[in-house]
Every structure is written in structure tokens, then in C-alpha cells.
Amino acid sequence: MRRLLAIALVALAFPAAASAHATLESTTPHFGREVQKTPGQIRLHFDQQVKILPGAIKVLNGVGHNFAGASQAEGTDVVASVRPLKLGAYTVRWQAISADSHVVSGVWTFGVRVPAPSVNDAYGAGGPTHTEHLVRWLWFLGIALTIGALGLRLIVLRGLEVPRELDRKIAVAAGLGAVIALQSGIAAFSLRAEDALQLPFGKFLYGDLSPMAATRFGTAFVTMTLGFALVLALVYLAWLLDRVTLLVPAFALSLLFAGGLSVSGHDAVDPGSSWKTELADWVHISAASLWIGALATMAGLLWFGAPQLRREAFQRFSRMATVLIVLVLSAGIYLSIVRLPHLHDLWTQGYGQVLLVKIGLVCVALAWGAFHHFVVLPALDRADTGFLTRIGRSLIGESLVGIAVLLVAAILVDSRPPAKPIGNSNTSTLTGGSAATLGP
């Protein structure tokens, strides 16, 4: 029986898709490819026969001129001729009727003697909206809650007698964070894809998202979804089996996959970026998530749920927060220097202005934290119940400032830093004169 079960589980480890709709299997030119001369034709290869619609394929330049000729179906392919193309970036938009009568649609980009821009910067895409900022903020919050709750349990409360009820609450908080991260990840990916595809909702449901999945944002979405699904399962099993050790891999995974947010942001693709900036961004996000998440969990769950642990937890958190703040500030200052070529960019550029707001909020949080560290901590031993209750409220206040910092960070990740004055610029323009994101 056990052997049978093992074989069945191995068989289940190889999932695949379930789709009755036509699936685009390959294109010529390929997604995101730089070609040296005008491709004679655009060819879409599907996994089954499709019917073509008028204007099935459009090849659009940066101002929306269409260079594609009439389309025709050839077996499982759809082909359109292309008029000569000048140097530049191009967007291909296509649609076809699949065998099950659904209209399937998609978009991808290529470049003629210039690197192809990201599909998120395809012609017609408007860029991140307020809704996307909000969703990304929720993504940050979910990640911070997971990392913070797990960090509180594994680092701050390490070796202490933790009441079972508090353990349960911490597991619920970590699991809730993972669920929020999963849901907001799906929402963020959908919003980004909707912007690139430029389709009404009915058609968007059958839109091909594969080119989006191939972008950095798509890769981050896929890896973070898998990572946080695993984190959710581990947190649940840790609570179910009463094994705190299972939280260790969950904590490590959530810290590791928090880096997906930096991989998906502008920092990873803008001129001047390197492995150092990616590492710094990961340190910045992970340390900030742990700091804010652990603070919020301690204020919301521990302070009023386990009063006997307040003093010890506060002292330990204070030590951990000092290290985390050093990491957040070091990485943040380094990234600001790399991203802002001139000091005046801070108040003249949109990116700099958002950064200034973030710095202001961080200063408030730091001042509040310093008050806790230098004033409250020494007074903790002789504190009465009333004082401790007020401290709990103060911790909640500091947490709210931290949550506001995450909102500004979400806007910042979606914003584009000012271009660096470099000699050999490889940027290509597709949308409204803004530099297009490069790279796969």
C-alpha cells in the first residue's frame, strides 16, 4: 500500500495544463527577439487549427502604424506578410478563433536592430495604474506579515515557553500573509497582462499570457507563487503537527522569494543595475519586511495575547530591529546613490519625490523606534500595566507607519528612476516617449 502510494505521488509530481482552447506554441520572430532585418512574414504556430479574423495580426511601431499585410491560415499556422521595417521596436498583436469557438488573443514584441522591449511596454500599454500600486502594496503586506510572523516566532521567541494559543495565532498570521501574497500576486500579474493585452474583460479571459510569463515580472510571479504556496503548506503542517522546526524552511523560503519583488522591479533592468544592486534590493526588502512584519505581529498578537512574554520579547525584538535597520539603511543608501545620478533628482524627478516621501516616513518610523529603544526599553522593568498597555498602542502606531512605508515602496518599485547619462544607451521607445524596459 505504501509503495503504491509512493508511485502515485511520483506520478502526480508531473503536472500539465488543461486547455481546450488553441494554444500558441511558437512565433516567428520569437518573443522578445532582436532581428537584424525585416522579417518577411509573421508566423504564429498553434497546437490546433484556428480560423482567422480580419486583421488577425498587426505589427505596430512606436506610434501605432500597422505594417502587417493580410493574414491567412496555413494548417495550424497563421501567417501575415510584413512591409519593410525601419530600425526600432515593434509590437505584434494577434487574435484567432480556436476550434472551440473562443477568440484567443495575444501580444508580443520584437526589435529590428535594437533590443526588444518588455511586453509590458508594448505599444498601447499605459503603464502601472493606482490599482496596480494598491495590489503591489497588498503583495508587500502579505510578504511582510509572513516573514514577520515567522521571524517573531523563530528569532524573537526562540527558546521561550510560548503559549499554544499564541503559536496558533502566529501560524494563522503567517498563513494569512502567504494567502494575501498569493492572491495579490495573481491580481498583480492579471493587471499587468491586461494592460499589455489591451483587451476588454470578456476577451482578456481568453488572452494568451505566455509572453507576460516570460518577462521578469512573470518569472517573479511564477516563482513567488510556487514559493508562497509551499510556505503556506509548511506553516499549516507546522501548526497541525506542532513542529516549530517546519517553520524554519518556511521562513527561509519566504525570505528567499521576497526577492522576487526586486527582480520584477525596475532596479533589475535599468541601466546601472548589476548583481550588487539586485542583492542590495533583496536585503533591503527582506530586512524591511522582517522589521515591519515582526513589529506588527508583536504589537497585534503578542502584546495583548501573551503579557508574560512582553518584556523579554520587546528586548529581543529591539536587538533584532537594530541589526535590521542597519541593513535597511545601508542597502537603501547604496541603491539611492546608484539610481539617482544627481542629488537634485530627489526633488526634480518623480522617482526622487516618491523616494523623499519614503525617506520621510522611514525617519518617522526610526524616531519612533529610537524612542522605544532608548526610552521605553530601560523603563520596562519598572513599568506597570497601564504603561505597558500604552506601549502596546505605541507599537501599533509604529507598525502603521511601517505599513505606510510599504505603500510608498510599492509605488517606488513601479516607478522608473531617472535615466543615467551613459554613452551607449540601448533604450528603445514605445510608449509615450518613456524609455522601454530592456532584457528578457
Binding site: L12, A16, A18, A20, D100, A193, S210
Partner: protein, 194 residues
């Protein structure tokens, strides 16, 4: 390099069949006998939870249409929720039998996702027919786990619940035109597709 669409149906059909057979065994021999070996009580809830976790890669990797992504995501979530709740109950970490309401919820959500994501008429093709059948089977059969919340010892309800799961797995095994059994039935239904 992704495997073909039918493979996922067969892989998950195999997993669901195992869940159904375990449930059927438990219904036939009774809970006391089934739980004589401690690991057996975790078998089908653990399988259901594991299938839910394994549905996440399907959701994340297969992005050929938005609606499939949402359908796979909703199945992953409800299967993890219902399997997790059952694990909690058999392990004793959860006490309230109302947690078993997650199963009718999972059935209704799964059925709705099947019906919504297949927008062709019933007789368009075998795949469309079976997707409708799967959807409505889940929605209608949600009555069995719902009644089990209040009549947990009813052998008839347990057997109906188990047989529903087994039936669903058989449908999943055969709902593709390229299946080796019940292959493409008629050219009148158009070209075979996945």
C-alpha cells in the same frame, strides 16, 4: 517544455481516484476499522491537501489563457482548504465539525469553475460535454458532504461522497479527445483537440 494538456487530467484523475477509493474503503469497513492503523486516517485528507499544493504549479506555469489560470488557482485553494481542514479534524487540532463545510464549499467552487471556464454548449464536443457534466456533478453532489456534516456516521452518505469522487476521476480520465480510451468519438464533433 510543458507536458500536454491531457497528461495533467490523467495525473490528477489518478490522485482523485486514490482519494475516492480510500473514501470508499472507509465507507465500506467503517471508521473504526479504517483508523486501526493510525497513518490511514491521514491518507485521503493528506492526498487531497497534496493535490491542492500540486495544482499551484499548474496555475503558475500554464498561462495560455487567463480563465484557466483562475480556474486552476481556485481549485488549488479549495482543495488545500478542504484537505487541510480534514487533516486538522482527524489529527484533533480542529474540533468543530463545521470545518467539514469546507467540502461542500470546495465542491460548489470547483463545479462552478468547471462550468464557467467551459463556455461551449453541452454537445459541442466530448470535452465540452464532460466539462459540463463534471461541473454539474460537483454542484449537485455537494449535498453529500453537506449532509455528512450533520450525519457523519451515515454509511450511505459516505458511500455517495466516495462514489462521486470516483466518478469525477473517471470523467477526468476520459474528457480529452486524445484519450487512449473513449478516443475521438465522431468527426461530426470537429477535429480532435485537447
Amino acid at each position: 517544455m510543458l507536458p500536454h494538456a491531457e497528461m495533467v487530467h490523467w495525473a490528477f484523475a489518478a490522485g482523485i481516484l486514490l482519494v475516492g477509493l480510500c473514501l470508499l474503503c472507509e465507507a465500506v469497513v467503517g471508521e473504526e476499522v479504517w483508523h486501526m492503523r493510525p497513518w490511514r486516517k491521514y491518507l485521503w485528507p493528506g492526498l487531497a491537501f497534496g493535490l491542492g499544493v500540486l495544482l499551484w504549479p499548474v496555475m503558475a506555469f500554464f498561462t495560455n489563457s487567463s480563465i484557466h489560470m483562475y480556474a486552476h488557482g481556485s481549485w488549488a485553494e479549495v482543495l488545500m482548504l478542504a484537505g487541510g481542514a480534514e487533516l486538522g479534524l482527524v489529527h484533533g487540532r480542529l474540533r468543530s465539525p463545521l470545518w467539514r463545510l469546507t467540502w461542500p464549499l470546495a465542491f460548489v467552487v470547483t463545479g462552478t469553475a468547471f462550468i464557467v471556464h467551459e463556455q461551449n454548449p453541452w454537445f459541442f464536443a466530448r470535452s465540452a460535454f464532460l466539462h459540463h457534466l463534471l461541473g454539474w456533478t460537483f454542484v449537485v453532489a455537494a449535498i453529500f458532504p453537506l449532509l455528512l456534516v450533520w450525519r457523519p456516521r451515515s454509511a450511505v452518505l459516505q458511500a455517495c461522497f466516495a462514489l462521486t469522487i470516483v466518478t469525477v476521476s473517471v470523467m477526468l480520465f476520459s474528457d480529452r479527445d486524445v484519450a487512449p480510451i473513449f478516443g475521438h468519438l465522431s468527426p461530426l464533433a470537429g477535429a480532435p483537440h485537447r
